[in-house]
């Protein structure tokens, strides 16, 4: 059984004594480029290029051989202007902070200032900053910060709507992965409403507008959704048949509770997600919707299911109310959990490889019960996670899957 066959079987509801595994199959079960560099060394695969496609999360395109070595069943395609509107059809050589050779999108030409910070420009203005000694870029400019009227919304970044050339390029990537791997193919689409708004308006302004300027926010969300639907129609009409999963992401949770109330989600966000997800389900019924949403989201999961979510990631079990057993028992029949396999925020406290394995095995037991599960760690491994821990986690998952398939557990 190939990875793709396994995943498709699971989607048809026919995979009861097994589960799928994902590492680097989408943008939230990957790892910092630094952790990846160490992993490549550890696996004796140093010759593999480190292409940093997601400059915000600073994660690499994982090589399919590395994915294979760790047991991953998924690979992903992504739009060429993935972050900061920088085209990545071409790559240029560069280095990580520690001098390790890597590749950046050719258009990524950050400016270093006297205080050691790095800046990314967009439309001639500084848009994101990485502080000296930092590992991440954060957005520092919000074009809609002062928007008051619907007509001010024209400032929404044009990158939201993809060009025909970029749509074609994305579809070709899907075709390429379909033809040249036996993995299930994921499209990193994102389709963000909340996080796009947070970037455009700034966090504080966004929340306030959501509470008191609803008309403006409805107009904004519809505008963004229309652009996303244009992109989806373009990509799927060319390569929809070759695709298994489309990845969406938006954070509705904090670690303690939801960011917004369930009624506010239903009123302000869900209608727009539903437009996108209905379009996909109605026209491409074989494609599954994967939604990435961190935090304490137990109470909003029924609404997400109703809106069309098929797979939920990252299953942040450390957040309030996200008890693995309760999650699996309550929602396991209606949704496939993708994640929850290792608590990466507390990984530093698991000091030995045996402790890491035991932690993963315990979670595997819970989440893989009755099938319907994609094993992965909770969100991307950070820069300082040693490769032996990463390998131990995925070897544990593979071992557990073999036992499950053989009827030994």
């Amino acid at each position: 059984m190939t990875s793709r066959e396994r995943v498709q079987k699971m989607f048809r509801g026919e995979l009861k004594n097994s589960f799928a595994i994902s590492i680097g199959g989408m943008a939230n079960d990957n790892m910092s480029a630094y952790a990846y560099a160490n992993l490549l060394k550890y696996l004796g695969m140093e010759e593999k290029p480190i292409k940093i496609y997601d400059l915000f999360q600073f994660i690499p395109l994982m090589d399919v051989e590395v994915i294979d070595r760790l047991g991953g069943d998924f690979v992903h395609a992504q739009r060429p202007r993935y972050r900061f509107n920088l085209d990545q059809k071409e790559w240029r050589p560069g280095t990580l902070h520690d001098g390790t050779p890597c590749y950046y999108p050719a258009e990524f030409q950050p400016i270093r200032t006297e205080d050691g910070s790095l800046y990314v420009e967009m439309d001639g203005e500084r848009y994101a900053r990485m502080p000296k000694g930092g590992l991440y870029f954060d957005i520092i400019r919000h074009p809609l910060e002062d928007a008051e009227e619907v007509e001010d919304l024209r400032l929404v970044h044009p990158a939201v709507r993809m060009s025909d050339e970029d749509i074609e390029y994305t579809a070709n990537q899907i075709e390429d992965l379909y033809q040249n791997t036996d993995k299930a193919v994921v499209l990193l689409f994102a389709g963000q409403l909340i996080e796009q708004a947070q970037r455009d308006f700034g966090f504080e302004e966004f929340y306030c507008k959501l509470a008191i300027e609803k008309e403006l926010m409805h107009a904004y969300f519809q505008m963004v959704t229309d652009a996303y639907l244009h992109n989806l129609e373009g990509i799927l009409s060319r390569a929809g048949e070759k695709l298994d999963v489309i990845w969406f992401c938006d954070d509705i949770g904090t670690q303690q509770t939801l960011q917004i109330s369930v009624p506010m989600y239903k009123e302000m966000i869900k209608p727009y997600e539903k437009q996108m997800w209905d379009y996909i389900h109605q026209n491409y019924p074989h494609i599954r919707i994967l939604f990435h949403c961190c935090g304490a989201i137990f109470d909003v999961i029924p609404e997400l299911i109703d809106a069309g979510v098929d797979l939920l990631n990252p299953v942040q079990i450390s957040a309030k109310g996200m008890d693995p057993e309760r999650l699996k028992e309550t929602y396991g029949k209606d949704i496939i959990f993708w994640g929850g396999g290792t608590d990466t925020q507390n990984l530093a406290n698991l000091t030995t490889v045996e402790e890491v394995e035991e932690h993963a095995r315990h979670l595997l037991e819970i989440f893989s019960k009755g099938g319907n599960y994609v094993f992965s760690q909770i969100h991307n491994f950070q820069a300082d996670v040693p490769p032996e821990k990463i390998v131990a986690i995925f070897d544990q998952a593979k071992k557990y899957r073999e036992k499950l398939e053989a009827g030994e557990v």
Partner: protein, 211 residues
């Protein structure tokens, strides 16, 4: 409904446009500025914080309430007497070096200001020396440090260590928070106070300055 009750209700509901006018009317009615501040606005924000902790309201509702209070305080400022009579305490606060995240920090600042504190925002990516310099001001009661990333937790530890080594350490308390931070980690690095959210932080700050 009394003017104070109206202010209380307008702050709670985040009516930023109404609050300044109501405060002005209250002043014209001869209500003492301290009463408007304490009974109209700070108490409203206490209740907002409580409702947030009970998950009856969420970040958007809490933010608009804090902004409404801020607009009211602007009107009140020229009428308030010497600072000591109305300011509950002083806090300096920042996100540690290497970390640019400020959503949580800004929420905490808004809520602590709403509890009647003066807060000096040191911003993000704050070098250890800046925390130390800010903490050495004689009127500082609390030093707040935030870290969002597991990879910046060491910077949090180093910053707290430097603050703990200060001669005037007994004069202020150290409060820490941020996504990966836990009570256990706060204890380990020698911080005095850990809170998990902005409303609890405001509550803890109030408690910290009760003598």
């Amino acid at each position: 409904m009394s003017k104070i009750e109206e202010i209380f209700a307008a702050v709670s509901a985040g009516k930023k446009k109404q609050v300044p006018g109501l405060v002005q009317q209250a002043l014209e009615e001869g209500i003492a500025p301290e009463v408007i501040l304490n009974e109209g606005m700070i108490q409203a924000m206490n209740e907002v914080g409580e409702r947030f902790r009970l998950e009856q309201i969420y970040v958007p509702e809490m933010l608009v309430a804090a902004r409404a209070m801020k607009a009211g305080v602007e009107v009140l400022k020229p009428y308030l007497g010497g600072e000591s009579s109305t300011v509950r305490g002083k806090m300096v606060m920042g996100t540690v070096a290497g970390d640019l995240h400020d959503i949580g920090k800004n929420l905490v600042i808004l809520m602590i200001e709403s509890a009647g504190f003066e807060v000096v925002d040191l911003g993000v990516d704050v070098p250890i020396a800046d925390f130390v310099a800010a903490a050495s001001a004689p009127d500082v009661d609390l030093v707040g440090l935030s870290a969002l990333l597991t990879t910046t937790m060491p910077a949090l530890k180093d910053s707290v260590e430097a603050l703990n080594a200060m001669d005037c350490r007994s004069r202020f308390q150290i409060m820490v928070g941020g996504a990966p931070v836990t009570q256990a980690f706060a204890n380990e690095i020698g911080a005095d106070i850990y809170t998990a959210d902005a409303a609890s932080a405001a509550q803890a700050a109030r408690k910290a300055v009760q003598h």
